[in-house]
């Protein structure tokens, strides 16, 4: 328990450090002014089967003390931040990533990540980032969240790929699988122990695999909006939640302190919204309100995978890292409308997720900007869809895992675990053996329990899973997800759980990768483990 007094003192100290640091660092691109019209981010589209770009990850504090981590892209009009990457199935995506991070907390004890395994060993600048052993504030890498691509260095490995500051870029090159579901994915840093810090500062961008109109023709020709919801804590190292902001395409959503971001729609217009929850720990429950009345949303895809049927809902729960794509109908001219997140109860020891307005929706006669491609005249060539037939397949193995926590005191450190039932709980370290070994071709049913009094967000790298049950109750319309809520335990009765079906049939994912809680503080603190998929 810390008092507000102590918090204020800490805040002054960190603010001073941040502002001092910011005076010495190159600035990130300016972010939008509160209360202005929300713009879609810059967008890069693949050409002739390839998309190549260079990104530089840098950090600098803004005038309010928020430390920004920005993926800078040098466009023809100047430096822009975190472009949306649009690719087709089968395309090659190449990113030259330069780490230009600067130490900003040189002497501060790492109270949030006491077990973050920081290593300050001297390492030759020529050391291959695929073999680096240094993990500290300036280490980074990239994770292509949701993409079903190989877990190897230069592709989507987050265990051993540790990039240090250097003028020499590190190249990522991945081939989007030909059967990758069309939808919304995202990229973000994933250096264990420091992921929350970097994502908190805004280092996240959207990836769109084109072609959703081929599977969901109702979106064809609609105006498309890409919204990335980020979260920024003023003091990202403190265990105290402290002041934080949700942002919508980098614009703070902090009404009533500032006017809300503005989303423009034509009266009654249908738009296709593609929303990524790129926050570090915010559980969202998205809704569109006309006045106080929640409107019907037509769900198109979750976590990048088009849903079966055409579910109509009035709110969509999106865990940290989750994505929701849905059709919204605009208000009548002059009608009051808002895009909100309803509150979300994360349990007795979970962090608060208050309801709030993310944006006001204003009607305008302005034409919409990006349109989803028209539906194809000819049927798409037959491509066996990834995960096809999964609901009917008999699992080859069943497993039980559970989330648990061990606090040392009323304040952190807290040990955060995800454990295979029967094994010893272990905090994640990069050199630990895999907790699970399986083979390509396996189909497994996993039950994941929550033994803690706070919600967790289970995330699997490299693949999606089919959600079969929640608390033992079959899901009516099972969905393919890569991140899913595991409800908190009330302290009484059986542990809450989800049951999911893991699809290891794709040889593309052979290798060692991780699964973890996508509350990034938890992941950084150890709630992560390895799985090895043998060829």
């Amino acid at each position: 328990m810390r008092s507000l007094f102590r918090f204020a003192i800490a805040l002054q100290v960190i603010l001073g450090a941040l502002l001092t640091a910011s005076a010495q660092l190159p600035q990130c691109p300016l972010r939008p002014t509160p209360g202005t019209v929300v713009q879609d981010g810059p967008s890069l589209t693949s050409q002739n089967g390839a998309l190549s770009l260079a990104l530089t990850l840098r950090n600098a504090a803004d005038s309010f003390g928020y430390m920004h981590y920005c993926f800078d892209y040098l466009s023809s009009t100047g430096v822009v931040e975190a472009p949306t990457l649009r690719v087709n199935p089968g395309d090659t995506l190449t990113i030259d990533l330069t780490d230009n991070l600067h130490v900003v907390y040189p002497d501060r004890p790492n109270s949030r990540y006491p077990m973050s395994h920081m290593q300050h060993a001297v390492e030759s600048p020529a050391t291959d980032p695929c073999k680096s052993q240094i993990m500290n504030f300036n280490t980074t890498n990239l994770h292509f969240h949701g993409l079903n691509v190989p877990p190897v260095c230069h592709q989507d490995d987050v265990i051993n790929t540790l990039i240090q500051p250097s003028k020499t870029p590190f190249q990522y090159q991945i081939q989007i699988p030909a059967n990758e579901p069309p939808g919304l994915y995202w990229y973000h840093p994933h250096p264990h122990g420091f992921t929350a810090l970097q994502v908190n500062g805004g280092a996240a961008g959207a990836i769109i695999v084109n072609g959703i109109e081929k599977m969901k023709p109702q979106v064809a020709g609609l105006a498309e909006r890409v919204f990335v919801i980020r979260q920024q804590f003023l003091d990202p190292l403190s265990w105290i939640p402290g002041p934080y902001q949700l942002t919508l395409n980098f614009q703070p959503a902090i009404a009533p302190q500032s006017a809300s971001p503005i989303i423009q729609m034509k009266p009654g217009e249908k738009q296709f919204w593609r929303v990524a929850n790129a926050s570090t720990q915010a559980f969202l429950s998205l809704a569109v309100l006309f006045g106080n009345t929640a409107q019907t949303l037509e769900v198109i895809a979750l976590d990048g995978v088009p849903v079966t049927g055409d579910p109509m809902v009035t709110s969509i729960d999106v865990p940290p890292a989750g994505r929701a794509e849905f059709i919204v109908t605009g208000p009548a001219s002059g009608q009051s409308a808002t895009f909100v997140t309803n509150g979300f109860d994360t349990g007795p020891v979970g962090n608060g997720n208050a309801s709030q307005v993310l944006a006001d929706i204003n009607t305008t006669a302005m034409p919409a900007r990006t349109l989803v491609a028209a539906a194809p005249v000819l049927p798409a060539p037959p491509v066996t869809q990834r995960f096809s037939g999964l609901p009917a397949i008999k699992p080859t193995t069943t497993r039980k895992l559970y989330f648990s926590e061990a606090p040392l005191g009323t304040n952190p450190p807290v040990s955060f675990f995800i454990t295979v039932d029967g094994q010893q709980p272990k905090l994640f370290t990069k050199d630990q053996p895999p907790a699970i070994v399986t083979k390509v071709g396996a189909v497994e049913d996993w039950t994941i329990e929550n033994h803690t009094s706070e919600e967790h967000a289970f995330h699997m790298h490299q693949m999606h899973f089919l959600v079969l049950e929640v608390n033992g109750v079959p899901v009516q319309n099972p969905t393919m997800q890569d991140t899913f809520n595991v409800p908190f335990w009330t302290g009484h009765g059986p542990y809450p759980s989800i049951k999911v079906r893991m699809d290891f049939r794709d040889p593309n994912i052979a290798g060692t990768f991780v699964y973890h809680c996508h509350i990034l503080d938890h992941e950084d603190a150890g709630m992560m483990a390895k799985i090895q998929v043998d060829p």
């Binding site: 810390r2 040392l408 040990s415 010893q424």
Partner: protein, 389 residues
């Protein structure tokens, strides 16, 4: 997990708490006391101790308020006891984490005889100040500065600061727990490592046995520590998602490789306490609001499964953390077990202990919990006269 304290211990609650009898009213006349370090958060109120006497059934009663003047820490490590009671005289020391001071309480006069400071760099505001004594010296572990201050114990419950050390764990962890027996001080670092020190000259000098405990590879990190009456074994309660305890043979004057015992599935085992007859080891299971007892063989140092209480009343509603078991009596199993309950309705859990040597029970009494009217952040309690080791 971060905002819990703000949710359950709203600051606005603090001014409304009922204050126990003040110094000006009649003082209890009993010679046995339970002492609570209220450890109120900084800047919310001057902190205090509360001294209880015991009813015939062991229920704490007649709370007596002792002002300590400075500010407390308002929380911190479960295993770090902020109350240290002398065996040789009626003195109790209560740490004030916010002020960085140690209050000396004369248990005969029931008054604070003054607050004592270490060096200006000794800071305990984050997770409190842990205290242990061997009758000659009092050792204070300051959580923020990661220092252990040594104080000479003087007549009249006074203290004289002698000096600091700044130990560091094998994996760069800070001091989390301490226990002292004669000339040996045993320290846990919360990073999986442990170390012992020679304190024959007062200020600790390492015995050169810094090592990772066995639990380290299993992410079970020693936090709380106790030492047997004969100084043969050091027992460690682990920060773990299960009930995990380790034992080291220290009869050579140094720590030896610990033996790890998994004693149940109930989470957390940081806070431990040996019964006066050393047949039971009491272990708090904080995250499930329960307390366990394991059978201990003081000859062999081996532990075995014992018993576990039901979830204690009010857990996850009135209070959220459980810490610092102590017993009423300084003989046998201690008869009645007390634990500090941390939360908006802080209090003291009271359990009757029974043991046949093969089976045991821990049963919360009807009168439990006993409210500590002066605290919303109770983590540490002590008993006078204390256990004889």
């Amino acid at each position: 997990m971060k905002c819990l304290r703000f949710v359950l211990v709203p600051l606005a609650f603090i001014p409304t708490i009922t204050v126990a009898q003040s110094d000006s009213v009649q003082k209890p006349s009993a010679v046995s006391y339970l002492i609570a370090n209220n450890d109120l958060p900084p800047k919310t109120a001057a902190t205090s101790g509360t001294v209880f006497t015991f009813a015939s059934d062991g229920t704490p009663q007649n709370p007596f308020h002792v002002s300590l003047g400075g500010s407390g820490a308002g929380g911190g490590y479960f295993n770090s006891n902020r109350v240290s009671v002398l065996r040789s005289s009626a003195c109790a020391y209560l740490s004030l984490g916010g002020a960085g001071e140690i209050g000396g309480v004369d248990l005969q006069a029931l008054r604070d005889i003054g607050n004592f400071s270490g060096s200006p760099t000794d800071i305990g505001i984050d997770n409190g100040i842990g205290l242990v004594n061997n009758g000659t010296y009092l050792y204070a572990s300051y959580s923020s500065s990661n220092t252990i201050a040594t104080f000479a114990i003087l007549p009249g419950c006074s203290l004289n600061f002698l000096g600091d050390i700044s130990p560091l764990g094998k994996n760069s962890g800070n001091v989390k727990g301490m226990a002292v027996h004669g000339n040996m001080l045993v320290v846990t670092y919360g990073d999986g490592s442990i170390e012992s020190f020679n304190v024959s000259a007062g200020i600790p000098v390492s015995n050169g046995d810094l090592q990772n405990a066995t639990g380290y590879v299993h992410s079970s990190f020693p936090a709380g520590v106790d030492i047997t009456a004969d100084g043969h074994f050091a027992i460690f309660g682990d920060q773990s998602s299960t009930t995990s305890v380790e034992v080291s043979d220290i009869s050579s004057g140094k720590l030896t490789k610990t033996v790890l015992y998994n004693l149940g599935a109930a989470g957390d085992s940081t806070s431990i306490y040996l019964s006066p007859d050393e047949t039971l080891l009491y272990i708090t299971n904080t995250s499930v609001g329960r307390v366990s007892a394991a059978f201990f063989n003081a000859t062999t140092g081996k532990l075995s499964h014992g018993c576990i209480s039901k979830p204690l009343k009010g857990f996850d509603r009135n209070w959220v953390f459980l810490a610092n078991p102590v017993t009423e009596l300084n003989t046998g199993t201690g008869s009645v077990l007390y634990l500090a309950e941390y939360g908006a309705s802080s209090g003291i859990a009271v359990l009757n202990v029974t043991s046949t040597g093969a089976t045991c029970s821990l049963t919360e009494t009807a009168a439990s919990p006993v409210s500590d009217p002066d605290s919303t952040t109770l983590l540490s309690i002590g008993v006078y006269p204390p256990r004889q080791f």
